[in-house]
Every structure is written in structure tokens, then in C-alpha cells.
């Protein structure tokens, strides 16, 4: 169950206890998130068990190998800040059907077509909020979200992460699959946190483990 793929050369000291705790915290959050999302969209919502990856930018290829799948499509990112800082990347592959989700957010069929990007931005916002709300609550910390942005229409997420001018070096990446029964396709959520904030994250966890 705690099936986490560890990077072999993680510089950060992550003992099993903390890893276990982090995984459990995310599992619980996903359960809560799936439940409230189902309420909102009135459809079966599925969120996979988060996969933890410890990544260095020089080895994004390893991340690619470790990931369950490397999706390609419209990529939307949303920053979060507060006690922790990071970004959520959501990738929507081509061919997903958003009509039912859209209807549950009061978009007509035509609007789903016409305003697909806005709809995806809103879905991303809701997903990000739902997934991290539980984490913030359990750790008893404050988290706020910035506006989501469409950053690419047709790329692999790893290409975005690899962008050589981006400023991160090492990061924790949580890989979560998201699907709604009517969507007939899985989307991918990556919750990414740079190294500096992971130590803060573990401080909170240590508190829980006392």
C-alpha cells in the first residue's frame, strides 16, 4: 500500500516513518477530496493513491520512468503558498469528455465547447483545493491558492518540469490520477514542492508523530 518510488540518491533524509506518515496524510486527503468532489459533480469520482517521487531536475528522465504514465495534453498550473509553497500541475489529455462535469458546474453543452479552457481552469482550481485542503487540515497549517493558468496546450508534463530556465533543483512530486465516470478518461495531477519547503513539511509531520 505504501508503494512509494524513492529516488536512489535523495539528498534529503527521509526516514521510513516520515515517508509513511506523508503517504498516509495524502491518502486520507484524497479520500476526503473524492468524497466532496463526488458531491459537487454528482458523479462517481476516482482519485488514485498518490505516488511519491523525489526528483532532481537533472534526472527528470528518471521521473518519467518512475511515473505510472506520462500524460500529454493541455497543462494547467496553479501555485499555492502559505506555510508551504509549491505548484499543482494538471494535465488534461485530448479526448476527455467534460460535458457532465461541465453541466454540474452550470455550463451548457455549447458552453463546455466554447469555454473549455475556463472550465478546465475551474476544474483545476476545485481539484487543487480539494486535494490539498485535507493535507492542510491534518497538518494544521495555512495554505492559499493563486489563480490557475494555462501554460501549454500540447506538452508532456515532464517537458514542462524539465524546462531548463525554471528555478527548482530538487523537488517532491506527488502523482495522482483523477477521473470522473462520465469523463471516460484519466487526468493527471502532480503536486510539486521544492526542496526548501519539504523540511518545513517534515517538521509538521514530526509534530504529529510525537
Amino acid at each position: 500500500m505504501t508503494d512509494t518510488s524513492m529516488h536512489p540518491e535523495v539528498p534529503i533524509e527521509v526516514d521510513e516513518l516520515r515517508k509513511d506518515a506523508l503517504q498516509e496524510i495524502f491518502n486520507i486527503s484524497m479520500g476526503q477530496a473524492a468524497d466532496s468532489l463526488a458531491c459537487l459533480v454528482k458523479d462517481r469520482v476516482y482519485l488514485s493513491v498518490p505516488q511519491m517521487h523525489w526528483v532532481e531536475k537533472s534526472d527528470v528522465q528518471d521521473l518519467k520512468a518512475a511515473m505510472k504514465r506520462v500524460p500529454k495534453g493541455i497543462i494547467i498550473c496553479q501555485p499555492f503558498s502559505g506555510y508551504l509553497k509549491g505548484e499543482i500541475l494538471v494535465c488534461y489529455e485530448q479526448g476527455a469528455d467534460f460535458t457532465v462535469i461541465g453541466e454540474s458546474l452550470a455550463y451548457t453543452k455549447e458552453q463546455v465547447q466554447k469555454w473549455q479552457h475556463e472550465l478546465l481552469l475551474d476544474i483545476t482550481n476545485i481539484l487543487g483545493g480539494a486535494c490539498l485542503r485535507g493535507v492542510a487540515d491534518q497538518l494544521n497549517i495555512r495554505l492559499e491558492f493563486g489563480a490557475p493558468n494555462l501554460i501549454d496546450r500540447h506538452s508532456e508534463v515532464t517537458t514542462i518540469l524539465l524546462n531548463s530556465s525554471s528555478i527548482w533543483d530538487k523537488a517532491l512530486v506527488m502523482e495522482i490520477g483523477f477521473s470522473v465516470q462520465s469523463m471516460s478518461m484519466t487526468s493527471d495531477i502532480l503536486i510539486c514542492m521544492p526542496e526548501q519547503y519539504i523540511n518545513k513539511l517534515f517538521k509538521c509531520i514530526d509534530h504529529l508523530l510525537e
Binding site: 500500500m1 505504501t2 491518502n27 486520507i28 479520500g31 476526503q32 468524497d35 509531520i205 504529529l208
Partner: protein, 119 residues
């Protein structure tokens, strides 16, 4: 009162143990997966079993099924992050006393224990 706590996450086991009523005393057995829990029950180490659902080797549903078929009398309280109503129903049908959503808090546990008459 003998208590067994079964969860693959150490943190979750700790949070259960931490939330137990102060008035309770007795041996506490910790299990990392369903099979260990089943053996603990067979060995009579559990009056009350706190049981997670999603676990390696043997999951919680399987433990409940075995306990029922082997007619071992244990009060089982399921604590899980899986919220699906269907799963909750199934758990109750298999003879669990109660279902608690994670994360567990002292108040939630106390409420539930009172509700099922264990407190």
C-alpha cells in the same frame, strides 16, 4: 480489555492509540496488515479491533469475512480513508460495529464508542 490496532501506517496506528479513552487499560497489540490482525484475533488478543481497509497482504474486508466465517467474536471498528458509501455498507454487513472516516480524532472516536455502547 484487550485491544488490537491494525493499520499499515504507523502514524495511523499511533493516532488510534493516542485517541483511546484514558479510562481504558489493557494490552494493546499492533498489526501492520490484515493477516497479523486475524492471527491476533485467533490468539484471543483482541476484544476490540480497530481495522483499516486498504492494506497489503490481506485487506480489511477479507479480515471481516474470515472473522465471520471462523465465528471469532470481536468488536470491530473500521477506520478508513475510503469514503464510498458502498464500501461502508459492505463493512457493516460483514459485522463491523461502526465506520469512522480518517483522519481520526479523539472526539470522533469517543462519539462512536458511546454510540455503539462500548463507553
Amino acid at each position: 480489555m484487550k485491544i488490537t490496532v491494525c493499520d499499515d501506517s504507523l502514524m495511523s496506528r499511533k493516532s488510534v492509540i493516542r485517541a483511546l479513552p484514558e479510562t481504558w487499560s489493557g494490552a494493546i497489540t499492533q498489526c501492520k496488515h490484515g493477516l497479523e490482525a486475524l492471527e491476533a484475533c485467533r490468539a484471543g488478543l483482541a476484544d476490540i479491533l480497530f481495522l483499516d481497509l486498504t492494506m497489503p497482504i490481506m485487506d480489511g474486508l477479507e479480515v471481516l469475512t474470515r472473522l465471520k466465517s471462523e465465528q471469532i467474536k470481536v468488536s470491530v471498528i473500521v477506520i478508513s480513508a475510503d469514503f464510498q458509501p458502498k464500501v461502508q455498507q459492505q463493512v457493516m454487513q460483514l459485522g463491523a460495529l461502526a465506520f469512522i472516516n480518517k483522519p481520526l480524532t479523539q472526539e470522533k472516536l469517543e462519539g462512536t464508542l458511546k454510540q455503539v455502547g462500548l463507553l
